[in-house]
């Protein structure tokens, strides 16, 4: 594996649970992964599989109650974040590690000016005069290509369009030049044309700043276009990890395979009208009542007795391509 010193983030056996009215469940179960400097790691999986909770766990922002991180370690540039006290963690948050959230409208404070929100992010971590921080804020807004940044800085979130808000979020997240940026579905709420702009922007800035990037999405198209490595999650667990090329070339987990097959391809040409799509039958299980064995088994065409009884371990199927399936070998053939 990669050289240790090159790692920005190293997550080991992360476990986060939720205590809710309907019961306790593991939203993130035994998750390990790492991100290198300048690398983009994508986390994919369908809605509710634990992607956002993973991101929040890294930031130690899991809402408590009902959530709690109950195990594992998250080391950022060598320090275990989970071992820090709250004050130390605050010094790291927004400084070395920052995050862009899914909903640009609701993630900005509606009663504060955009500029002030960025200024706050800067001044929390750098002891500089307000005036200077303001200049930085305007500069950041210019960096994320907001026209007339000085004027926009004085506006409130509701006065900006969706795309601009998301850019403001990015400016805020990058204001302190973090070592690691987590982007949790940064474009889901946006139009595809805007999405393309925003993603291009994030990648540009990432390159410029050398930041490690964790990109969370469930859009495999986005993954293919942006990431170097990919983690696939299902029901709180990592079921597959590989480089983006390897994953798309030969997925080893039946779930990944099914997911890829059900994506409607954009027909550059010659798609027959009314083509049926491949589908994964059944539905995602409730996290509260997971089956004993493999969580995907009830929906899996390849499921065998063993799948129902025993959870398959993550195994390396060559070249760092990890997958948790008893029949990973056969996946490519069957589908």
């Amino acid at each position: 594996m990669a050289d240790k010193s090159d790692l920005v983030l190293d997550v080991k056996n992360l476990k986060t649970v939720f205590f809710t009215n309907s019961g306790l469940f593991k939203a993130v179960d035994d998750l390990s992964f790492s991100v290198k400097r300048g690398e983009t790691l994508a986390i994919v999986g369908e809605s509710g599989c634990g992607k956002s909770v993973t991101a929040l766990s890294l930031m130690r922002l899991v809402p408590d109650p009902p959530g709690r991180i109950v195990g594992g370690s998250v080391s950022l540039e060598g320090t275990d974040l989970l071992a820090l006290d709250e004050a130390q963690m605050r010094a790291v948050r927004g400084n070395r590690i920052s995050m862009i959230f899914q909903e640009p409208m609701t993630s900005l404070n509606p009663v504060m000016r955009i500029g002030d929100q960025i200024v706050e992010a800067v001044r929390l971590h750098r002891n500089i005069p307000a005036k200077e921080a303001r200049d930085i804020a305007v500069e950041m807004l210019r960096l994320v290509r907001i026209p007339e940044p000085a004027r926009r800085a004085r506006e409130y979130p509701h006065q900006l369009s969706g795309g601009m808000r998301q850019r403001a979020m990015i400016a805020m997240a990058l204001a302190c030049r973090p070592a690691l940026l987590i982007a949790d579905e940064p474009t889901t709420a946006l139009d595809v044309t805007i999405q393309a702009q925003i993603l291009a922007l994030i990648l540009d800035l990432q390159k410029e700043l050398g930041t490690g990037l964790v990109l969370i999405t469930h859009d495999l198209g986005v993954v293919a276009q942006t990431a170097q490595r990919v983690i696939v999650m299902y029901a709180g667990r990592k079921v597959e990890e590989a480089s983006v090329e390897a994953l798309f070339a030969s997925p080893k987990h039946p779930y990944t395979r099914g997911l890829m097959a059900s994506i409607p391809a954009v027909p550059a040409s010659g798609v027959p009208a009314q083509a049926r799509l491949n589908e994964i039958p059944g539905t995602v299980p409730s996290l509260v009542r997971l089956p004993k064995g493999c969580a995907f088994a009830p929906r899996c065409k390849l499921a065998i007795k063993r799948c129902e009884a025993e959870y398959p371990p993550l195994a390396d199927w060559g070249g760092g391509h990890l997958a948790a399936c008893w029949r990973a070998e056969e996946v490519a053939e069957v589908a």
């Binding site: 369908e46 805007i194 702009q197 276009q225 409607p264 954009v266 009208a273 009314q274």
Partner: protein, 331 residues
Amino acid sequence: MTAALLEVTDLKKHYPVRAGVLRRQVGTVHAVDGVSFALGIGETLGLVGESGCGKSTVARSVLRLVEPTSGQIRLDGEDITHLSKTALRPHRRSMQIVFQDPFASLNPRMTAGDIVGEPLAVHGLASGKELETRVARLFEQVGLRPDQMRNFPHQFSGGQRQRICIARALALEPRLIVCDEPVSALDVSIQAQVINLLIDLQRQHGFSYLFIAHDLAVVAHISHRVAVMYLGRIVEIADKDELFRNPRHPYTQALLASVPIANPLAKKLAPLVDGDVPSPVNPPSGCAFHTRCRFAMERCKTERPALVEANDGHRVACLLNEGTGRPNAIP
């Protein structure tokens, strides 16, 4: 394509914009600003465009759930634009709608069976035992178990909820089903299930679909023809193959180019347009797209292009190269 089931001519819907506690009108949203199209029997027309461009408003207007500001809607040749509520009721049976958010469109306090049976009860088509058997049959049709009739919406998964919505739409045996982003809220794996169901049902019953989405790929799979909307207007409409093979409007081109392709080896993202979508409250003068268009000319700022036939069945609203909408060369 045979005779048109639905014909929409120059449909406009303007909403007043109200502000403040008194909700005074401070402007007008040109949500739909002159839309015309026709939909044949057994045909699927896809309607794409970004969020807020007026797709849902078209859908609602067609069903007369909102009163159009102007224009005409013909169903089976009959003008239903100005029918009274009572006169409209029989026509309600011929057209139904499936919404984007399946959970929100189901009353959380009614059982699935009641929800699906409600249209039948309202129109007095069935009651008691008969109602129950018909609902059960509808459940089977959409791939739900009849024993789930007594469950409440929150007890279903997203895909199942959308099936309930579809079953409710089917209950009156309509000829036209308007699908307003029926899969946007669903996961890809579930999305495929629902699309397949819609395709199967169309094959069995010969419905016409007005299928709205913002995901071009989804639309590509289900539609016969596709219309692209931008800020309340249709900017391009063509047979699906033609549209994808040969997009003429710069916006359509940008849309197609922006869809990330699920193949790491394919070309990388390259945004074709810049800037943000203008607000429909004060749409730009001339061609609404000129603020973001790569090919924008002086004319585009003042002159509003009409939707003209570029070649067989392919119509586009662009001034580029005298209305053919075709750029000289795609860079």
